[in-house]
């Protein structure tokens, strides 16, 4: 008797919808085992992770704040992945966007520049991220370099560039030598939505991005082309589609969204440029994109869910002394299960018995 994977005659739409839920379920089971091995009560640990943040007003706002960059980046990544372009470097595009936008904030610091500063910063962030995203895309299209490697390696370049700037030319002279710029002026800061709260305008921008992503994919020529090029490259060449142009476009949009998320994060919750502005948003957004089925609405839900794991992880660290790295383990296990469960859309498990006589009973 053996267990085999058998190809389904047709892809199962039901499984396609519930596969992320199965993945989350399996992740929770695995995490419980992990918590038990760490000597913590799994039930209360999961409670701290997933229930406590949802019943506290401050945490709810914080979830939305954390979900904002995740969702924005993941929408861009989903376009890349749909087009079969594997942008792994959103983290770098996020950092470069933050740097590009911060340049204006630093340059206008202390001047009486008007309210045009913030929109211009957002624009600069998007342009910076897009240009940075185009580097691996051009290398792929022009030289056939693997975009997976180049985009990933550029993350570290961006990280070091940011480090250099905040330790060198852009360091706050009154900052006691801490590697950070001075606090941005009010005109260079993303306004909060509720007085005294944490929720800021970026959340609204993220929702607009979700809507725009949904419209782009469902209703526009470019969206159609992106889906064709990704789903059937041979057929796309047959139809005379310019797949190189679409790869460039997908990387540019993806980079722009990551870059804008970067400058929103810096000009919003952080308030100044410093190293460590991202707890790995660019990488976690990959999980968000797949957990959300590369679908804008799904990505919104998945982004909120993964933001919850960040907040829950912080609370678990405080309340139960669970290391913050467990959150990363959690996210990694989740991506693993999402991808694994997706094979059930096209395949199903089947028990095979050695003797045909026995197998008749099983049909």
């Amino acid at each position: 008797m053996q267990l085999v994977l058998e190809k389904r005659a047709e892809r199962s739409n039901a499984i396609a919808l519930i596969s992320p839920l199965i993945a989350i379920g399996l992740t929770l089971v695995t995490m419980s085992i992990l918590f038990a091995m760490l000597g913590k009560n799994p039930i209360s640990a999961l409670g701290v992770y997933f229930i406590d943040p949802l019943v506290d007003g401050y945490s709810l706002q914080e979830i939305a704040v954390k979900a904002t960059p995740l969702v924005m980046i993941a929408i861009g990544l989903s376009l890349c992945y749909l087009a079969n372009a594997w942008n792994i470097g959103a983290e770098g595009q996020f950092l470069i966007g933050a740097v590009a936008g911060s340049w204006l904030a630093v340059k206008t610091q202390g001047t009486d520049a008007g309210p045009w500063v913030l929109p211009a910063m957002l624009l600069l962030g998007a342009v910076g991220g897009a240009l940075y995203g185009l580097i691996p895309a051009i290398c792929k299209v022009r030289f056939g370099a693997s975009e997976i490697l180049t985009s990933l390696m550029l993350v570290y370049v961006a990280d070091l560039l940011l480090d250099y700037l905040v330790r060198g030319p852009w360091r706050d002279p009154k900052g006691f030598n801490f590697p950070t710029t001075a606090e941005f002026d009010p005109v260079a800061t993303v306004p909060v939505l509720i007085e005294g709260g944490r929720l800021h305008l970026g959340g609204v921008i993220a929702l607009v991005v979700v809507a725009a992503g949904a419209v782009l994919l469902a209703k526009t020529i470019k969206g159609f082309e992106i889906r064709v090029v990704g789903a059937a490259p041979r057929a796309a060449r047959f139809g005379g589609f310019n797949s190189n142009q679409l790869i460039l476009l997908a990387f540019a949009i993806s980079g722009a969204l990551a870059g804008m998320a970067g400058i929103i994060e810096v000009a919003g919750p952080v308030g100044h440029l410093q190293p460590g502005i991202s707890p790995g948003y660019g990488f976690t957004a990959i999980i968000v994109a797949f957990l959300g089925r590369l679908n804008p609405i799904g990505i919104l839900i998945a982004g909120l869910f993964l933001a919850l794991t960040f907040i829950g992880g912080e609370q678990a660290q405080i309340a139960m002394k669970i290391p913050l790295d467990v959150t990363k383990v959690f996210q990694g296990i989740l991506l693993f299960f999402v991808l694994a469960c997706d094979s059930l859309i096209l395949y199903r498990f089947k028990l095979v018995f050695a003797s045909p006589k026995v197998s008749r009973g099983a049909h």
């Binding site: 526009t220 020529i221 159609f224 064709v228 060449r237 045909p356 049909h363």
Partner: protein
């Protein structure tokens, strides 16, 4: 096999499949099918693609386990759990595609196929035994030649010899002549026929060629859509009566007569070269002109560069050198050029080459025109209702069987996928049509419809390039016939004056 059981009878084996039913999930692939192959007979298994022929022989060979029913070998019920069991009983199968190792010699291939290959092979002795074995066989193959150096016909003979060398007494041949020239096919089947007549061998041949059934088989079993449609002695049947059993009551599209005049040159290839995926030259210095109102057929055994040639024309492969002109303009298979010149393509394996499997039938039908009015407005927005309306019209016109225009196209049967591609490619005006094995794997109704459409496009003045491995199809449709061998055009003839043996010789490279 159980120890102590009486051994199977000597000589040729008979195989009976009794009331075999095979279900794949909800799909009934075989419905209470009976097949009786008498020992020492040449039996043909006839049916359209998807009729269940392959499923039935796979049940016999132990690849599938029938949901219901029994397999009798030599008159005794056998539980065949896997192909190894089938081999032990003396059943062997020759596949449509070759299973020999190209880099090894014929002798090495034969010896290594045995179950009991010793750790150290005494090649001198094995060679001697092989020579002795070959002396008893009607086929002659060069034992010391590499498989990659011998022709398709010789390879097919090796495949059959391998089965005989392994002492198989019941041979299943799955469309054994599909890769052979007509001359080679007659030679191989004739020799097999002699072996059956002389005793010692039983043959079950899957085919869809009536000519081969009439010439070589004693008895025939015909399947239609998973059911037994008829059986009997070939001597009592005619190709017409067999065709009726295969097709059933379905009415076939009538092909329009060949009319119209030759127009100006539409498609010109000059000194075109292309390489295959492995980097070997696949298309070598090919030049050809196709004029409006004519069908030029390209004949050739599969693997002689036809696929790469079509891929270059479809934009799926870059030419190494040479040029393609359409109506005098240089052509590089861009969307804009395809549209301007009203190019249409019917590639082989349409689901893989010309469709996006996960997208809907409507999306796939709109695949060429989606970025133009009425499907798109203001160069940016898609008009979904236009997609749907156009799809609904074409689904009706081309008799595409689908649940709705929103069904993913991969859920459709092969014939209906090809119909959808046909609707897309031939639904508008066509000036140049390139078709590659457009009917491969399709049922009669779809084939008749596609042939009629191609002829109609020609009659309306389109230049048609038809690449096919099916000589009958080429002779039926073409005005001119070109034979492709090793990437080159080696022979050209008017189809009406074409000599089948002459073409066969050129296909084999002589």
């Amino acid at each position: 096999m159980i120890i102590g059981e009486t051994p199977l009878p000597e000589g040729p084996l008979g195989v009976d499949a009794v009331a075999v039913t095979m279900k794949f999930g909800d799909f009934l692939a075989l419905d209470n099918v009976a097949l009786k192959v008498r020992p020492g007979s040449f039996h043909a298994l006839l049916g359209e693609n998807g009729a269940g022929k392959s499923t039935l022989v796979k049940c016999i060979m132990g690849y599938y386990h029938a949901t219901e029913g029994d397999i009798l070998v030599g008159g005794r019920e056998q539980a065949i759990a896997n192909p190894k069991d089938a081999h032990a009983l003396g059943l062997g199968m020759v596949y449509q595609h070759f299973t020999l190792v190209p880099a090894m010699t014929v002798a090495e291939n034969l010896v290594l196929a045995r179950d009991d290959v010793p750790a150290v092979v005494n090649w001198a002795r094995e060679k001697q035994e092989l020579e002795a074995f070959l002396a008893r066989m009607p086929f002659k193959v060069p034992l010391n030649a590499r498989v990659s150096d011998i022709s398709a016909g010789e390879r097919q003979k090796c495949e059959i010899l391998k089965q005989l060398y392994l002492k198989r007494r019941f041979l299943i041949l799955d469309e054994p002549t599909s890769v052979l020239t007509p001359g080679e096919a007659d030679e191989v089947l004739g020799m097999l026929r002699d072996m059956v007549v002389n005793g010692g061998l039983t043959i079950l041949m899957i085919t869809h060629k009536f000519r081969e059934v009439m010439a070589f088989a004693d008895e025939v079993t015909i399947l239609r859509r998973g059911k037994l449609a008829g059986n009997g002695k070939v001597a009592d049947l005619t190709p017409d009566s067999m065709a009726r059993m295969m097709i059933g009551a379905e009415e076939l599209t009538v092909q329009p007569p060949r009319v119209g005049q030759l127009g100006e040159a539409r498609l010109e290839l000059s000194k075109l070269c292309a390489i295959d995926d492995a980097g070997a030259v696949a298309v070598h210095d090919v030049s050809l002109t196709v004029r409006g109102g004519e069908i030029v057929g390209i004949a050739g055994v599969s693997g002689n560069g036809q696929r790469q040639l079509v891929e270059v024309l479809a934009g799926q492969r870059e030419a190494e050198s040479g040029e393609v002109r359409v109506r005098g303009d240089l052509y590089s298979a861009s969307r804009e050029e395809m549209r301007r010149h009203r190019m249409s393509l019917l590639p082989e394996e349409p689901l893989k080459n010309a469709c996006v499997g996960g997208m809907s039938v409507a999306d796939n039908i709109a695949f060429r025109e989606f970025d133009r009015a009425p499907f798109a407005t203001r160069g940016w927005w898609l008009n979904r209702s236009a997609f749907r309306k156009d799809a609904e019209r074409k689904i009706g016109l081309y008799k595409i069987k689908t649940r709705s225009p929103d069904t993913p196209i991969s859920a459709l049967s092969g014939g209906n996928v090809q119909r959808a591609v046909l609707a897309r490619e031939l639904g508008g005006e066509v000036e140049v049509l390139i078709a590659a094995n457009p009917c491969f794997g399709l049922d009669f109704a779809a084939v008749a419809q596609i042939h009629a459409e191609i002829m109609a496009a020609r009659n309306r003045g389109a230049a048609v390039l038809l690449v096919s491995e099916d000589l009958d199809e080429l002779l039926e449709l073409s005005d001119r016939l070109v034979v492709m061998f090793h990437g080159q055009f080696v022979h050209e003839a008017r189809a009406s004056e074409a000599d089948l043996t002459e073409i066969g010789r050129h296909m084999a490279g002589h």
